[in-house]
């Protein structure tokens, strides 16, 4: 019991669960524990982690960002439109890739800025603001491309996502930066303070509006970076890129332990959450389950993880 208790209290709980899950399934799941499979796992884990990081910032301030997937889509086509080697505005130019990526980040940041301003300046509820942004931006992406995909992307660009080790280093770098910003910078402290109590923070001289906006901008930019990886992996700019992964992103972040009510969250936790979700996905379709059973198992496992978490909190209270 005591050992169980310690385990439950540990912030590595989700990691333990993931490992447990892996070990438990490895024997029954053909090719689960193989090297290339772990490669695939990593490849799909990275971009999700990048988006989830951004969401973590927003959740810490007590908000939520539903628009990330639409940002992925829009930046994907915008970037592709800029740098593809057939019809791109900068086709062939050596500047194509840097400028293209810059455009993507710029757009991501801009959308985030829009969200942030609406929420911080006009006191609009984050959920609905980002919901409308999601509708609008994804609609925009599809409209601009008239539903067509854009490909012929330069190999160098595709490598950013396609070559897993490149994507890995990009992600790792981002994660380190994000972690340091959260735990060691004044901005990080402000983020948590705003999430805990915006009024008290304002009176304590925290630029609440600025901090809030910055969180959404960060989320937008990170979504754009994730889009770089996704687009690279698909070697295509698609207006529906990432359309269906919204629940995965939120699920992963929250399972990691980041609170939807603000003030609580860590990059590390999010990593664990993402790992958990992806392990599940991966194993489930290795198990050759029909996809509705995949959905159901997924639901069950999410509940399971949440249950663990709530028990952990009760243990905490008891202790």
């Amino acid at each position: 019991m005591a050992i169980l208790k310690r385990l439950m209290l540990s912030e590595y709980l989700v990691l333990f669960l993931s490992v447990l899950y892996f070990v438990a399934l490895a024997p029954f799941t053909p090719g689960f524990a193989t090297f290339d499979n772990c490669g695939n796992l990593l490849a799909t884990l990275l971009p999700l982690f990048v988006v989830a990081m951004g969401l973590t910032f927003v959740l810490i301030t007590g908000g939520i960002d539903l628009s990330v997937t639409s940002i992925i889509a829009l930046t994907s086509v915008a970037g592709a439109a800029t740098l593809n080697s057939s019809t791109g505005w900068l086709a062939g130019s050596s500047l194509a890739i840097p400028v293209g990526i810059a455009v993507m980040l710029l757009i991501g940041g801009a959308v985030g800025l829009w969200n942030g301003l609406a929420i911080a300046k006009f006191r609009m509820p984050p959920f609905i603001v980002t919901l409308t942004t999601m509708m609008f931006v994804s609609g925009l992406a599809i409209w601009l491309t008239q539903s067509k995909n854009i490909n012929h992307l330069p190999a160098a660009f595709n490598a950013l996502g396609g070559k897993t080790w490149v994507a890995f280093f990009i992600t790792a770098a981002l994660a380190v930066v994000a972690h340091v910003m959260l735990s060691r910078s004044r901005w990080g402290r402000w983020l948590y303070a705003v999430g805990h109590n915006a009024r008290a923070s304002l009176i304590s001289g925290v630029p609440v509006a600025g901090v809030t906006v910055s969180a959404y901008v960060a989320s937008g930019v990170l979504a754009a970076l994730a889009s770089v990886i996704y687009t690279g992996q698909a070697e295509t700019g698609s207006p529906v890129m990432g359309q269906r992964i919204l629940l995965d992103i939120i699920g992963a972040t929250v399972i990691g332990g980041t609170s939807l009510f603000g003030g609580k969250g860590k990059v590390l936790w999010t990593l664990f959450g993402v790992l958990f979700i992806k392990l599940m996905d991966n194993s489930l379709n290795l198990l050759d389950l029909s996809y509705f059973s995949i959905m159901m198992v997924k639901g069950g496992v999410i509940l399971f993880a949440a249950l663990m978490d709530s028990m952990r909190n009760q243990v905490l209270v008891a202790a």
């Binding site: 008239q146 539903s147 295509t236 698609s238 050759d288 198992v297 028990m311």
Partner: protein, 338 residues
Amino acid sequence: MIKQLFTLVSLGAGAAILFTGCGKPEPAGGSAGGTAEKQLTVGVCFETLQTEFWVAALDAFKAELAKRNIKMIQAIADGDANRQIEQVKNFITRKVDGIVLVPKDAKACLPIVKAANAATIPIVLFNRPPEASGARSAAVVADNFALTQETVAYMIGEAQKTGQKHKAMIVIGDLGDINAIGRRDGFDAAVKEASATLEVVARVPSEWNQEKAQAGVVNALQANPDISFIFSSSDFLFPSIVSALKSAGKYKKRSEPGHVILGGFDGDATAYRMLVDGYLDATGVQDVYFEAAAAVQALLDMREGKPVSETIRDPGFVIHQANLKEKAPRMWGANVKK
């Protein structure tokens, strides 16, 4: 606390049961008795199962593979290109002998094909052609564009018979879906020639959602009560369209006056029924059985290094009142078990 623990354990058990419960794929997919030589395994990855057509196609593959005593494992990408990449990589991990892929779209599948090539696993793209590239693959395709154009052309022919001008409506699918777009473009192409007989007064986006389709058609009829020509980008939207027509009192047999010329795409069971009952004029049918057989054959040929043509065309066919009897057997919708 203890109670919680209890619930937790039981829930865990529940999840486990789910695993084992769903773990076994449907009998059709299961290996039909092991034979002497090593049984082949084929991975079938569909982009979605959201419409009956895909289900029928999947069944067609199950049947075809079972017939040839090949083990089938399936994965559904649920409309997510990146997840699809992941799933095919999983197939490769499992060292399947061949891959059938319904790509999310024609372009996003290139990395997948390359991966398969790298692993020297033959891969056949089902229903959607790949972009021209260095990657080696065969594709079995029924051309949305061409087949739609053909279908609509037939409908226009019907329209011209009536001798008067028609107001037309198209129910468009999800603007994010390559099929929907292909069919829309096919419709537009066909209509362009016939501007004399046809004026398109309503373009209803359905997002492949029946409710939206139904509301959209009702509203369009509200705006233009004299619409007399409707093309639906997929047969699975017909129930919605029919209920809309009924509420407007415009759902008439071809024989009756005030009949609205109806056309669709896919050739599912609903469409078949409507054809038989004489409400539907025509629908573009993809020959699923042909496609499945051709795809599997292509896989086997590729394994044995036989030459396989880059794209195997499913002619598909327009089924209409005139050729109903003769074509029905090859219309998958006519054979779906209900």
